[in-house]
């Protein structure tokens, strides 16, 4: 973890505490079990997808199809459970698998074929959404059975199921990030692809793996949302990719790759989630909420740029100083 990144993380933690603190002061309803559960349950899909998405961005990848994958996987799970009458675990696995397949397509398009990730994943964005519409005839899928919504609306030991799923995914991806070669190679690939290649890091394989994982996590989020909505919704997830990107960048992941953590993304997602929730609690009009979210994103990116510029100046100063010493 670089100094710059550590600084960003500290600032984010302070920002999270500050935002939560402001709302806790403005309304006594903020720091209640019910409300905090709402916040965590609402950010869960973003965090689940963001966990894999962060590592992908660290490795200089990008996936704009996640929102459409959420719709596709949710519809497939609903069709499998409702129309085909398959057992729920099978239906849910089919939804997740559909996400992984789209991830694989993204991997093939971007890695061996070398298509720009923005273009490739924009393409799969349309393919996934269109496929969902084809499969469902453009209408929502109902009649999924009474147990379908247990995953999205149920709880275990008093904690909502989506929160459990989010926690498990975060722990798994933090472990991948810190304790496996996948995580370390992602950083190496993103920091300096040429040097990584020369060092024998299988950068292309790492990226491909991360595309598949991102797709699978989008599939999982889609299944979770479909369960929460008690139906397969063709139009769910529109713009979701931007929610994930905002959380990831706000959490300190660099747009240039090579830097970012799952824990940072979690903080970023919580900042955005608390902001949206708090503004609703105190009754701020919807248009102002949209403006606020845009301002937060610009500030986050601005902070990234400012810290990098400062680091560059320091390095230049250090290099100039070292050069002068050597000359002397």
């Amino acid at each position: 973890m670089t100094t710059t990144y550590r600084q960003k993380l500290i600032i984010n933690v302070i920002a999270l505490v500050a935002v939560a603190g402001v709302f806790a002061i403005l309304t006594p309803r903020f720091l209640t079990d019910v409300n905090l559960t709402n916040v965590l349950r609402n950010v869960a899909p973003v965090v689940i997808v963001g966990s894999a998405f962060t590592l992908l961005m660290v490795a200089r990848g990008l996936d704009l199809s996640v929102g459409s994958v959420i719709a596709l996987s949710g519809c497939i799970a609903a069709l499998a459970a409702g129309i085909e009458g398959l057992p729920l675990p099978i239906a849910f696995l089919m939804g997740i698998a559909a996400g992984a397949v789209i991830g694989l397509i993204n991997a093939v398009l971007t890695v061996p074929f070398g298509i720009n990730a923005v273009i490739a994943t924009l393409g799969t964005l349309y393919v996934a959404r269109g496929t969902a519409q084809l499969l469902t005839g453009g209408v929502s899928v109902y009649g999924v059975g009474d147990d379908f919504d247990r995953l999205g609306n149920g709880s275990f030991l008093g904690i909502a199921n989506p929160i459990w799923v989010m926690l498990i995914v975060v722990v798994v991806f933090m472990a991948l990030e810190r304790f496996t070669l996948l995580g370390r190679y992602a950083v190496a690939t993103g920091s300096n692809p040429e040097a990584a290649f020369l060092s024998g890091v299988p950068g292309r394989r790492i990226q491909a793996t991360l595309y598949v994982l991102t797709g699978a996590m989008a599939g999982l989020a889609g299944v979770l949302l479909a369960s929460r909505l008690r139906s397969g919704q063709v139009n769910v997830g529109v713009g979701f990719e931007f929610d994930v990107i905002v959380a990831t960048i706000l959490g300190g992941t660099s747009l240039a790759g090579g830097e970012g953590t799952v824990s940072g993304m979690l903080i970023g997602a919580l900042i955005v989630g608390i902001l949206a929730n708090g503004l609703n609690l105190i009754g701020v009009p919807a248009f102002w909420q949209t403006v606020a979210q845009g301002v937060v994103l610009v500030l986050a990116v601005g902070l990234d740029v400012a810290l990098r510029a400062r680091l560059k100046r320091r390095r230049r100063a250090a290099a100039t100083g070292a050069g002068a010493q050597a000359a002397a």
Binding site: N38, N42, S140, L225, R228, Q233, N280
Partner: protein, 365 residues
């Protein structure tokens, strides 16, 4: 003045009747004051969750409800539903967490919000649905349902009469639908086609194009241009919402279609729904064959919604009753004339910032 194809008396007398009907419906049922004379909403914090603030109707509906409720001492937060069931779920949950005293919601889709609605009921927060039927498993009162279907069917009968009067055997229809939306599909487009079938017989109603079209202006216009370019013959057109109608009409008029001849449509009979300013300009244009426009009445509907919600708060309607009230729309025909249309709608939409009433001096009557 008589209707151009049905010869029924229309015009000023009917227009006066329309306005009188709106005014009559706006008179609230006697109810809902606390024993000391204050309204039951006085001092209450309420949330109004819209379907989505993409249309002036939605904005007006929310703002009128807020104005009327706050005039009686309530405080109202209007939340944009963003045409997203998930956003509505979050709005319900946040409102319950905020400890509001009541929630009114125009559900985009009744099924996804059931869990959130039930949670609100369990938390003791009265919640009422408006605009469409609630999911039966949630068992919440419906404070007002639009009568789109009734007006759409009436318009289909007008269209069928035009076909008969002009010696056309078949209705060749183009419908720009949003199939996943119950209001668009079930109450409007499917009902329109169904009524045509009842009037003309299934063999005489042909789908030239009847499918999902993203109801944004550029998409609709392009789609209609492609249909015109394909050379397929059609004589009836409608779209789910105002934007769909205007986009389609833009393309039709640019291609020299949707004209009037001797006061009746020369080639295409058009129905629009929402009565946005763009539609009204076409409705009141004597050269364009937009014949009927269904106008939603946000001010009147907001009064109905508040009246019903007060009955829930006062206990006159049980919070889990399957109660349905009607929130009326209005059917304007071309023959009604600008003054009537403009006056009625200006009153309904006056609360929308920047709303511009139709200027009858610039439009032929």
């Amino acid at each position: 003045m008589r209707h151009p194809t049905s010869n029924r008396p229309v015009g000023r007398l009917r227009g006066v009747a329309v306005i009188a009907a709106i005014a009559a419906i706006g008179v609230m049922p006697a109810s809902t004051t606390a024993q000391d004379g204050d309204s039951v909403v006085a001092g209450k914090r309420l949330t109004f969750i819209t379907w989505g603030n993409a249309s002036e109707y939605q904005i007006a509906q929310g703002e009128w409800f807020k104005q009327f409720a706050e005039a009686e001492g309530a405080s109202v937060n209007v939340i944009d539903g963003k045409i997203d069931p998930l956003a509505q779920i979050k709005a319900i949950e946040d409102s319950v967490a905020a400890g509001v005293d009541g929630i009114v919601i125009q559900q985009i889709d009744p099924v996804p919000v059931v869990a959130a609605v039930n949670a609100a009921k369990e938390a003791g927060v009265p919640i009422m649905n408006v605009g469409g039927l609630a999911d039966p498993s949630a068992m919440i009162p419906v404070g007002g349902t639009f009568n789109d279907e009734q007006l759409v069917r009436e318009s289909a009968r007008d269209a069928a009469q035009w076909l008969r009067d002009t010696g056309r055997e078949k209705a060749e229809i183009v419908l720009f639908d949003v199939p996943q939306n119950i209001v668009c599909h079930d109450w409007r487009m499917a009902a329109f086609k169904d009524e045509l079938i009842k009037e003309l017989g299934a063999d005489n109603v042909v789908d030239v194009y009847n499918d999902l079209v993203d109801q944004s202006l550029d998409v609709v216009t392009t789609k209609m241009e492609d249909i015109i370019q394909s050379g397929r013959s059609f004589n009836i057109y409608s779209a789910c919402g105002g934007t769909g109608a205007v986009g389609g009409l833009d393309a039709l008029t640019s291609a020299g279609r949707a004209k009037m001849e001797n006061g009746i449509p020369a080639d295409t009979w058009v129905l629009s729904i929402d009565a946005t300013p763009g539609e009204l300009a076409y409705l009141l244009d004597p050269e364009v064959s937009l014949m009927n426009t269904i106008a939603l009445t946000p001010k009147t509907n907001a009064e109905v919604f508040l009246a019903n919600f007060k009955q829930i708060l006062s206990g006159e309607i049980a919070p889990d009753a399957n109660h349905v009230a009607e929130a009326p729309g209005v059917l304007f025909r071309k023959a009604d004339g600008c003054e009537i249309v403009s006056t009625a709608l200006a009153d309904q939409y006056a609360i929308v910032p920047g709303y511009q009433a139709v200027d009858c001096s610039t439009i032929g009557s």
